[in-house]
């Protein structure tokens, strides 16, 4: 009766490593049973290593794998890892879990692409593109939570700035102005969250929810009242063009994935580096982290807790504003109601999985982007799973990831607590 959440969340290491081993064995067996059965021996899967469109990258031959032996080898490797985990134990079972998950995905893809061809580079490229709004949401989350403000308003911030970007871009015929307006909108809504949660000490999750409901209502209201009648005048901006980076885009494999993208994707990569640098290599970043861990101590040392929180939350909102701009002027060029579809919340999960680190958050966004683009590819490959279930993939992955790491990932100590100056 006296078991606590803390104890349950951090199980005794012995049993955890045993469970991990059993999990690996189960995954290995599942590959045998699900993918390995009823395969004709000669079947091959072809993975395209060149983008499907005309590209500057140097052409390289495609990867052709024999389906049956690939699946068997991967399954045996996972079984071996599981056995080793049970018998001896790995020092870092999380890393091994990552490897097992990777093997499982490869086995699954090989099975799904059996007898067909599958453009791997195209899918990895679209993973990065689809990870972009999630990564920007996660970076926004990192900025505000590192200084102790939980921001679940990201979804609403992105939705509003998506609308602002497309309207400003269409009216001015200038996408850069659209991007700027999106950032300002994001900053403005984040400022509202800041006033409510920092100054008025409203429960931060309630404040964020109110902003989300407001954003959903306001954008749908504007869309219904103005945009529907004037699509060409207000809601048709066009999108940022693809900008191949000279030389770098010629690299095979990496070139088409990383260096043939639109402006916002590059901006995301730059922002991840910039925020990492800001947080860990500047006095401002030190202040931010101090305020997030122990605001009272920071205050005693003369750091203005409120100022640090306000600035970080508002800058974070501007980052999320870029993420919102991705939805319209970065990808389709027009606004649809509720088009963010939970990406802001998935970004928060990516932030937690990335342990409140900019690079970690970015890397875990890639996993969600991969899940997202995988479901589209699988629909094209006509895998015998209804498309609605494939569409659930990013949400299910989010829940699994959260269940797997929270409790072991430690948030900033003062996260979510209003600060009252004495």
């Amino acid at each position: 009766m006296t078991t606590t959440t803390a104890q349950i969340a951090r199980p005794v290491s012995m049993s955890r490593s045993r469970w991990m081993g059993i999990l690996f064995l189960a995954i290995g067996l599942a590959i045998f049973l699900l993918f390995g059965r009823a395969l004709e021996p000669g079947l091959q899967a072809k993975f395209g290593l060149n983008p499907g469109y005309a590209s500057q990258a140097i052409h390289i031959p495609d990867l052709v794998l024999p389906v049956q032996s690939t699946i068997y080898v991967l399954a045996l490797l996972i079984l071996f890892l599981g056995g080793w985990q049970l018998a001896r134990g790995f020092r870092s079972s999380d890393a091994v879990l990552g490897v097992v998950a990777l093997f499982f995905v490869v086995a699954f893809l090989t099975w799904a692409a059996r007898g067909k061809s599958f453009n791997l580079v195209g899918m990895l490229g679209s993973s990065l593109v689809r990870a972009t709004p999630i990564a920007l949401a996660a970076l926004c989350g990192v900025m505000s939570e590192r200084c102790g403000v939980v921001n679940i308003a990201i979804e609403g911030i992105m939705l509003s700035s998506a609308l602002a970007a497309v309207v400003a871009g269409t009216v001015t015929h200038n996408l850069y102005i659209g991007l700027l307006v999106a950032m300002l909108t994001g900053g403005l809504l984040a400022a509202v969250h800041a006033v409510l949660s920092i100054s008025l000490k409203v429960d931060q999750i309630v404040s964020g929810t109110a902003i989300n409901i407001f954003a959903a209502g306001a954008t749908s209201f504007i869309a219904a009242r103005f945009l529907e009648k004037n699509i060409d005048k207000l809601n048709n901006s066009g999108t940022f063009p693809i900008l191949p980076i000279p030389l770098l885009s010629k690299i095979p494999l990496l070139g088409p994935i990383l260096f043939e993208n639109g402006l916002i994707v590059y901006l995301t990569l730059i922002l991840a580096v910039l925020i990492h640098f800001m947080l860990f290599y500047t006095p401002w970043g030190l202040h931010t982290r101090a305020v997030g861990e122990h605001p009272r101590a920071a205050d005693t040392l003369g750091i203005n807790v409120y100022l640090v929180r306000y600035v970080n939350v508002i800058l974070g909102g501007m980052v999320a504003g870029v993420g919102g701009a991705y939805f319209t002027i970065g990808s389709v060029g027009r606004f649809d109601e509720i088009m963010t579809a939970g990406k802001g919340f998935i970004g928060l999960a990516a932030m937690i999985f990335g342990k409140w680190n900019p690079f970690g958050a970015f890397a875990s966004s890639l996993i969600f982007g991969f899940a997202d683009s995988l479901q589209i590819k699988l629909q094209i490959l006509r895998v015998p799973i209804p498309s609605e279930f494939l569409l659930m993939a990013p949400y299910v992955v989010t829940m699994i990831v959260l269940a797997g790491v929270v409790g072991r990932a430690i948030p900033p100590a003062a996260d979510g607590q209003p600060y009252e100056k004495q």
Partner: protein
């Protein structure tokens, strides 16, 4: 039992006494002051939004200096048309009701009466799922859990009810109806139990997980409505439920007012009893007030998290059940008009108290039902209601704004801790 009683007393004495010397009725109404002003302020700002997004009003203000009267009357006209339609669509006009009754008594013709009663009964029809869903959110709040997944639980509950409703064809109503209602509650409870379990066992925050469960529920219902549960025909809807599973309607058709409303009131009373008169409810509230203290007192936190989410989900599922069994009789895409999200606002507005939730639920039902008419008559998108609701949440959660605007001096009331950060 003895112990929990004494603790209960201890908690009750913490509630600040209203200042002495005020008459009893003012003391009773005092907790309602901020919510009432919050709703009023929300409606005022809604009016401003309606006026400034109206092209004729904006055009009139271009000539404000030469013809201020035109601008003001255009503003008044715009707001009056919108809110007039809102009022007519939600309450109706008393004189029409009176005339309707006269016509019915005189000639036995019920058509005018039905027409006059339609708005107010529709408001109560809309209030029914609101009350139940709001109780779900409120119960979660009492345990310190923020259940944003009410929308998804509502859907799953409705689908379960619909399935029971159309699958079994020759059950008597006294078995079929309770079974269908129960199926809705169980479906919602299951959908709520998953994030509750994950919260209790792994510490994964329920806010993100319930939202993910919402999206999974939407995709699942898309699939069900296009596949296994699709009625014959091209529309993605379920078959009509059997009449034995329908909640009885009080008035002859087309009025849709059904006993679900009274069911909702009964459930509200039940939730009040559970929360404030039983040990189970006391433990739930203790966990919500201070989990560390509750744990120290021997309360099982894990169990209470799961239990609160199960009950919260069951209430949301019941809301879906009343909607399908009482109002619509089938489930289609876009079946919920955002009841789950509005429920958050009304639980906050009702201060997470069952009575407050009932009042707020009737209010929101009235607003939502009138807004439908406002959309068709005055061309104001129904989303204005979401804007007003978001403002109401903000004003209720930040009473400082209301106190500042209306210059109210008030003792700082005891504030319920609603949610906590990721770690707890």
């Amino acid at each position: 039992m003895d112990k929990s009683n004494s603790e209960q007393k201890a908690v009750e004495t913490e509630v600040p006494e209203a200042p002495a010397g005020l008459p009893a009725w003012r003391r009773a109404l005092r907790p309602m002051l901020v919510p009432a002003l919050a709703v009023f302020t929300g409606l005022v700002i809604g009016a401003i939004v309606i006026a400034i997004t109206d092209a004729t009003v904006v055009a009139a203000y271009r000539n404000f200096l030469s013809a201020p009267g035109t601008a003001l009357s255009a503003t008044w006209h715009s707001i009056a048309t919108a809110y007039g339609a809102l009022f007519q669509g939600s309450i109706g006009s008393p004189s029409e009701v009176y005339q309707g009754i006269q016509a019915y008594v005189a000639s036995g013709d019920s058509t005018p009466l039905v027409k006059a009663l339609w708005p107010i009964t529709e408001s109560l029809v809309t209030a029914t799922p609101y009350i139940l869903a709001g109780l779900g959110v409120a119960l979660g709040f009492r345990c310190g859990l923020f259940n944003i997944g009410v929308e998804g639980q509502f859907f799953i509950g409705a689908l379960c009810s619909a399935w029971v409703g159309y699958t079994f064809t020759d059950l008597p109503w006294f078995i079929h109806l309770p079974l269908a209602v129960l199926a809705g509650a169980v479906g919602g409870a299951f959908w709520g139990a998953i994030p509750g379990y994950l919260k209790a066992v792994t510490g994964a925050h329920e806010v993100v997980n319930t939202i993910m469960m919402n999206w999974i529920a939407f995709r699942l219902s898309d699939w069900l409505l296009n596949g296994p549960m699709k009625a014959t025909g091209y529309r993605p809807i379920t078959p009509q439920i059997e009449s034995t599973a329908a909640l009885p309607r009080i008035f002859p058709p087309p009025l849709r007012f059904h006993v679900g409303f009274f069911l909702a009131l009964a459930v509200a009373a039940l939730v009040y009893w559970l929360l404030f008169k039983t040990t189970v409810g006391f433990e739930i509230r203790a966990v919500g007030a201070n989990p560390d203290a509750a744990r120290y007192a021997g309360v099982n936190i894990t169990w209470n998290f799961v239990l609160a989410m199960v009950l919260s989900g069951a209430l949301a599922g019941l809301a879906g059940a009343t909607q399908v069994l009482g109002t619509d009789h089938w489930v289609g895409q876009g079946f919920s008009a955002g009841y789950g999200f509005d429920a958050i606002a009304l639980a906050l507005l009702g201060k997470s108290h069952p009575l407050g939730v009932v009042i707020a639920g009737v209010l929101f039902g009235t607003l939502r039902s009138g807004a439908t008419r406002m959309q068709s008559m005055a061309g104001i998108p129904i989303d204005i209601i979401s804007i007003i609701q978001a403002l109401v949440i903000i004003f209720v959660a930040a009473p400082a704004i209301i106190r500042w605007v209306y210059r109210i001096r008030m003792p700082r009331a005891e504030e319920i801790v609603l949610t906590r950060g990721w770690g707890s």
